[in-house]
């Protein structure tokens, strides 16, 4: 069955897009906590906007990696081993960030809170940049030999495309998170978040546009110019909505920009999943990198059951926690030592 590798290519594109969309604002909020917040209350409000959902969002990354392993083991093996160093650093960033989210509010000293804020912000930045670099390179190519192994040393991945992809995801996360914060907070924080996306969207989204154009120009699938145009229109529409203060529309607009941009990229590279820059005969494609039809069939059944459920209960989570968060609502931080003092 030839349809299955195509289906799984589409599914993995969906998983990566879903990851960038959902964890996009989590990572962006993490960076904003470091650069945009003006007070500890700001930072706590920001963190609590993603509090109930960030962990579920991160599973999109794990699922994207796991699904790639199951459906295209050769893609998984070549991409991850070729990008060994940056991915190890992404993992460290994600670890620090997640532990910081959970631990920062559980201590009382300024040093503790400050330290974890830095871990959260930097971890988010590193993760966004690294994932962006990896996705850019899987669409533009890595120096791979006939076996799919990287040649050229540990830094062979470090190219202009890697930087472009890294900046694209970081920039998108910052804007996306600002519109998310405008939707989820109130008062000054909400206003400042709106101002951020109005002011910075045209600059911060440019690298993403650059990446989409680079892939479009290299692969040159004529019809996909329509999708590229849709992405640009969605971005501009979102930006105009942000300027008018229509927070919901701005969020939808920038979200649609990501979805269309990502669709243009993946559709352009199809059926290649990881080009070799050394010899196009060594490209990994959905045909030579995929698992067997039986495995893909099994996984299709699992995905058909699992993915709609995931979407349903994650949507429900967002519905449960739909209210805006205000600084006055925050409970007092935890106190310690009171109970251990000697009578």
């Amino acid at each position: 069955m030839d349809i299955l590798p195509i289906l799984w290519f589409a599914l993995i594109a969906v998983l990566w897009t879903g990851y960038l969309f959902l964890e996009g604002f989590d990572l962006g909020v993490g960076m904003h906590m470091l650069v945009s917040a003006r007070s500890e209350t700001d930072r706590r409000v920001m963190l609590n906007t993603i509090g109930p959902v960030w962990d579920g969002n991160e599973v999109w990354l794990i699922t994207a990696a796991g699904a790639t392993f199951a459906a295209f083991p050769y893609w998984y093996a070549s991409l991850f081993s070729a990008m060994y160093l940056p991915l190890v650093i992404v993992l460290l960033g994600l670890i620090f960030r997640a532990v910081a989210i959970e631990y920062r509010g559980k201590g009382t000293s300024t040093r503790w809170i400050r330290g974890w804020t830095i871990a959260l912000g930097l971890g988010s930045f590193v993760a966004a940049f690294g994932v962006g670099a990896m996705l850019a390179l899987t669409t533009t190519g890595l120096p791979l030999d006939h076996n799919g192994d990287r040649v050229g040393g540990p830094f062979a991945w470090f190219t202009g495309y890697a930087v472009l992809g890294g900046l694209a995801v970081v920039g998108f996360c910052l804007v996306h998170a600002a519109t998310f914060l405008a939707l989820k907070t109130d008062g000054l924080l909400r206003e400042r978040a709106s101002v951020f996306s109005t002011r910075w969207a045209p600059v911060a989204l440019l690298p993403m546009v650059g990446w989409v154009l680079a892939v479009q120009l290299t692969n040159g699938k004529l019809g996909l110019w329509l999708v590229v145009a849709a992405a640009v229109i969605a971005g501009v529409w979102g930006w105009r909505a942000a300027r008018r203060g229509a927070e919901g529309r701005a969020f939808i607009g920038f979200g649609a920009f990501l979805v269309a941009g990502s669709a243009a990229i993946f559709a352009n590279v199809f059926p290649v999943v990881l080009p070799s820059t050394l010899n196009s005969a060594w490209n990994l494609t959905i045909w030579n990198a995929s698992a067997t039809p039986y495995t893909l069939g099994v996984m299709s059944v699992v995905a058909c059951i699992g993915l709609p459920l995931v979407l349903a209960y994650q949507a429900w989570t967002y519905w449960v926690f739909r209210r805006r968060i205000r600084g006055a609502q925050l409970p007092k931080p935890a106190t310690f030592g009171a109970a251990v003092k000697q009578p």
């Binding site: 963190l47 093996a77 192994d149 059951i305 209960y313 109970a339 003092k341």
Partner: protein, 525 residues
């Protein structure tokens, strides 16, 4: 290329070992403690007793501090096969990736999403739904464990595949999912996790009861029965607090005892499977050079030399090894000396001249695992498991009159006892993974010929020694630092008692009168 002439394979193996053992310090606590917290909340829901509410809050907090570490170290595992073991990923990808992807799609999404709902849903979701969210998350983490064990068990005992162009190709997902190695290993692993959860409750509750006695809150009456008191000046140290800890301790002890009974049964089943599926591992667990029926209680010499001439059995119990392997006292169990030629005949004496072995092609294959590790790993697992079971029974007995002795050393012993099931778990995994060597996918004696892989062929060919060394050092030091932070936080919350998880017990309630409880987030970062 590099100054040090060390095979990247060795560093990659250390990295996998360290990160996996570390991951499996957090995970059993998650799997073991989670259901106990869910039971506590269910009790609260059913009885309305404040004791269970406080238990849920306190143990739930410790659960979350630990949970996040398990999640994030698990992320490394999901990436690690591709990073450092790309040849392995290519070889087994058609069958091994499926359970991993199923784990995230069917289990891990559930676990993470519903746990978020539970953490932030206090007071926002209807009580029954809030409780249901916790149960759903717990079921998710248990199913998640099942899929991971399925993947690991396929490396121990590959089933459900046929060989096409030298690669295993999955033909039967049910065979993979119902692999008897996986079923027994899952039961054993989950029970081992309950042992961890039980010992955790015992040690910490013991400390709390001891603290109440030290502070003169609880006293002991004429027949040694506890007289629970309260200290008005210490937040949370009221009468209900005493029952919080006593009930926690008893739940922990009963859980641990049941778990350890189950561990003996499932461990026995695993031993019998191992005898059929990986006879060399069984022999190495025993440092059994010669074929026989005796279980070694103590062997001296140097099992690590992997030379049978150096191993001398000192205390042996006749018949017991046969019982472990076959269920009778007479069937001889093959020793290393007899197995070695069989393995060499079947799988060769040197690594084949295939490019995937790189410079390792032609090296002699050592079919005997490092016996020092397998022999002692096996005994440490059983020894510390039994010790923890014994300690749980003693704890139950010593607290029958409602509190713990005033002795500080005994309290310290109870706290130190938390480590026992962790040690047993780690030793068990190190034993079973090291005992699989030199294979990364061990051959299945009754399966398809050719479905096996030497660890020497599994490492990423394109990744340099320096990269793996960097990641080993980076991951190792980050893990060490985070361990310090996790322990610090756990200790801080444990010392604070229930009041640290329920700040309202510590705050003067007058402050909050102007705010309706509804306006305050029930739990916030």
């Amino acid at each position: 290329m590099h100054a040090l002439d060390v095979d990247p394979l060795l560093i990659a193996r250390w990295q996998f070992g360290i990160t996996t053992v570390y991951h499996f310090w957090m995970v059993p606590l998650t799997i073991g403690l989670g259901p106990l917290v869910a039971i506590m909340q269910t009790m609260w829901h059913r009885t309305g007793n404040i004791r269970y509410y406080r238990m849920t809050k306190f143990w739930g907090k410790l659960y979350l501090i630990n949970f996040i570490m398990g999640v994030e170290t698990g992320l490394v595992q999901e990436f690690q096969f591709g990073l450092a073991w790309s040849e392995y990923s290519r070889f087994v990808g058609d069958v091994f990736g499926a359970p991993l992807a199923m784990e995230s799609l069917l289990a891990f999404f559930v676990e993470s999403t519903f746990l978020g709902l539970w953490i932030f849903g206090w007071g926002r979701l209807p009580r029954r739904i809030h409780l249901a969210c916790l149960w759903v998350a717990i079921v998710g983490s248990t199913i998640s464990a099942y899929f991971i064990i399925v993947a690991n068990s396929w490396m121990q005992h590959p089933v459900g595949v046929e060989l096409v162009d030298g690669h295993p190709v999955m033909t039967d997902i049910w065979a993979v999912l119902t692999n008897n190695t996986a079923v027994t290993a899952f039961a054993h692993t989950v029970l081992g996790s309950f042992g961890v959860g039980g010992a955790f409750l015992i040690g910490i509750a013991w400390y709390q009861l001891w603290q109440r006695r030290r502070d003169g809150i609880d006293a002991v009456g004429a027949h040694g029965r506890v007289i629970a008191g309260e200290a008005a000046d210490i937040p949370g140290r009221d009468k209900a607090d005493h029952r919080v800890w006593l009930t926690s301790l008893r739940i922990g002890a009963v859980t641990a005892i049941i778990a350890f009974a189950g561990l003996a049964i499932t461990g026995d089943a695993q031993g019998k499977l191992m005898f059929e599926q990986q006879p060399m591992k069984m022999a190495a667990a025993e440092a059994a050079c010669h074929t026989g029926t005796s279980f070694s209680v103590l062997s001296i010499g140097d099992p690590g030399s992997q030379d049978c001439k150096d191993v001398v059995g000192v205390i042996e119990i006749p018949g017991v090894l046969s019982f472990l392997a076959k269920g009778d006292f007479t069937t001889p169990v093959k020793g290393v000396n007899q197995l070695l030629p069989e393995y060499q005949k079947k799988y060769g004496t040197t690594l084949p001249d295939n490019p995937i072995y790189g410079e390792r092609a032609g090296q002699k294959i050592d079919y005997v695992p490092i016996m020092e590790v397998t022999y002692w790993g096996f005994r440490i697992m059983i020894g510390f498991g039994a010790l923890a079971a014994f300690a749980a029974a003693v704890a139950l007995w010593m607290t029958r009159k409602g509190t713990v002795p005033k002795s500080k050393p005994v309290m310290l012993l109870a706290v130190a006892g938390i480590a026992a099931p962790f040690i047993a778990n780690s030793a068990g995994w190190i034993f079973t993974e090291m005992g699989r060597q030199p294979f990364v996918v061990a051959p299945n004696p009754s399966g398809v010929d050719g479905v096996f892989m030497f660890t020497a062929a599994a490492v990423s060919p394109g990744v340099s020694f320096g990269e793996i060394l960097f990641s080993l050092i980076a991951l190792g030091s980050v893990y060490a630092v985070l361990m310090v932070f996790e322990l610090r936080l756990l200790i801080r919350y444990v010392r604070g008692g229930v009041a640290s998880a329920l700040p309202e017990l510590a705050h003067n309630t007058d402050d909050d009168d102007d705010k309706k409880p509804d306006d305050v987030l029930s739990f916030a970062y």
